[in-house]
């Protein structure tokens, strides 16, 4: 399994029967492939639906049925459409159980930077700021490093998406919980040592009973 699917599989274990979940564009989308059939997890797409199904075959593409990344999608039985006001009422109002997003940087306090590199990349925040503030549980799903540089920082240096809202970080190296007293390493990839994780992380880590990730 590649790094991205290791991450996605681990994130999927955080989802429970009946949860309403929003998966960000890119890596987080892969989480859907790892949700067990035995549970009902409802995927929201913030452009206006709950009940995101698998990608359609080319013969079943409907140009009016897309996700927030402009990909063609399908709707599961029991799903429904709504407008952007309702969609963000659901998000901001705390009705999303889990949101999973990528990161440019995430820090030990749970602050996240994911939408702008001033002067370089200015795509905009889209719905990310609302999702991170509104969802009951915020999981950052990201590769541990970008071109060798740690993404987990003591303090974010880029403009924030939201301040101190992230609950959990999942990378291919380990799983981290953001708590009152700091950032806890709670699981590690079986083939990655704690020392390596510490070395590849730009934030102080609290290390107690570190379990092995299922990969």
């Amino acid at each position: 399994m590649d790094a991205k699917n290791i991450i996605a599989k681990r994130v999927a274990k955080e989802l429970y029967d009946g949860d309403l979940v929003n998966l960000g564009i890119g890596l987080p989308t892969l989480v859907a492939n790892h949700i067990p059939d035995a549970i009902d997890v409802y995927l929201q797409s913030e452009n206006g639906l709950i009940g995101l199904g698998p990608k359609p075959g080319s013969e079943a593409i409907d140009k009016n049925l897309t996700n927030a990344g402009a990909d063609y999608v399908t709707l599961k039985k029991g799903g429904m459409y709504f407008d952007s006001v309702m969609s963000f009422g659901i998000i901001r109002g705390g009705h999303v159980d889990v949101t999973v997003l990528g990161a440019l940087e995430v820090d030990q306090h749970g602050s996240l930077a994911s939408w702008i590199i001033p002067g370089k990349l200015v795509p905009g925040m889209g719905g990310a700021m609302d999702l991170v503030v509104g969802a009951k549980k915020v999981i950052v799903a990201t590769t541990h490093t970008n071109k060798g540089r740690p993404k987990i920082k003591a303090e974010c240096s880029l403009p924030l998406t939201a301040k101190q809202e992230v609950d959990m970080i999942v990378t291919e190296m380990g799983v981290f919980h953001v708590r009152e007293d700091g950032l806890h390493l709670i699981e590690r990839h079986p083939e990655v040592t704690i020392e390596t994780i510490v070395e590849q992380t730009d934030a102080p880590l609290i290390i107690g009973d570190v379990k092995l990730m299922e990969v």
């Binding site: 407008d83 905009g124 509104g134 924030l160």
Partner: protein, 215 residues
């Protein structure tokens, strides 16, 4: 009240310096025909309110590529490199707004509110220049209403009164924009004698003009 207009009557609604709200999400649910007519009209110095910048050749991206837009108010411009290029060159002013805040600001205008308090963006650069208000010991940004001179929206079906229903995720920002503009023009794919009164999303009182799809 006969609301159907032709291209000529539509063109007469356009003017330089207008503030135009355009429905759609990454060009899904954007009234492309109406955008094409705005391109053809050659009106300049527009302020466009839209979820995103569309693509270079789809959605409001066509107006940006044609240098007709002075200012864009949107949540995301990442899929349209022309928007980013013009922003860097200083020829396009871009106000990036979190998607849920964009929806609420437009709704506030349409619903006669003086503003809304949102937690989204607190502690980020989104709060700069805005009033912060505390209620129940929590900090919120006061976001102000956002209206337009003209709303260009797309719907699936109308009746002879101008009631509208939408198709799947092409709904998105269209209904809320219909509430927040001095004149609202809806491009519709079909007209029926009557719509079920339980399923109408946009009541006819919001719709000034209908442009019917030519088969």
């Amino acid at each position: 009240m006969h609301k159907t207009i032709d291209k000529q009557a539509f063109m007469a609604l356009l003017d330089d310096n207008q503030r135009i709200a355009v429905g759609g999400f990454m060009a899904c649910g954007t009234p492309e025909t109406l955008i094409d007519w705005v391109v053809e009209s050659g009106v300049k110095d527009l302020t466009i309110i839209c979820n995103d910048a569309g693509f270079t050749d789809r959605g409001v991206g066509k107006l940006i590529a044609g240098d007709q837009v002075k200012k864009l108010i949107a949540s995301h411009i990442g899929l349209n490199p022309e928007a980013g290029a013009r922003m860097s060159a200083g020829t396009l002013s871009v106000e990036l707004v979190p998607q849920g805040t964009l929806a609420e600001r437009i709704r506030a205008h349409g619903a006669g509110l003086g503003g809304i308090l949102t937690p989204t963006g607190v502690g980020t650069i989104v709060e700069s220049g805005k009033r912060l208000i505390e209620t129940n010991d929590k900090r919120y940004i006061l976001e102000l209403p956002l209206g337009a001179d003209l709303a260009l929206i797309e719907a699936e079906t109308t009746d002879h009164k101008g009631n509208l229903v939408y198709d799947k995720t092409a709904r998105n920002f269209n209904p809320v924009m219909a509430t927040a503009a001095t004149k609202v023009v809806a491009y519709v794919h079909q007209t029926v004698d009557m719509l079920d009164p339980e399923i109408i999303v946009t009541p006819h009182v919001f719709v000034d003009h209908i442009v019917e799809e030519v088969a």
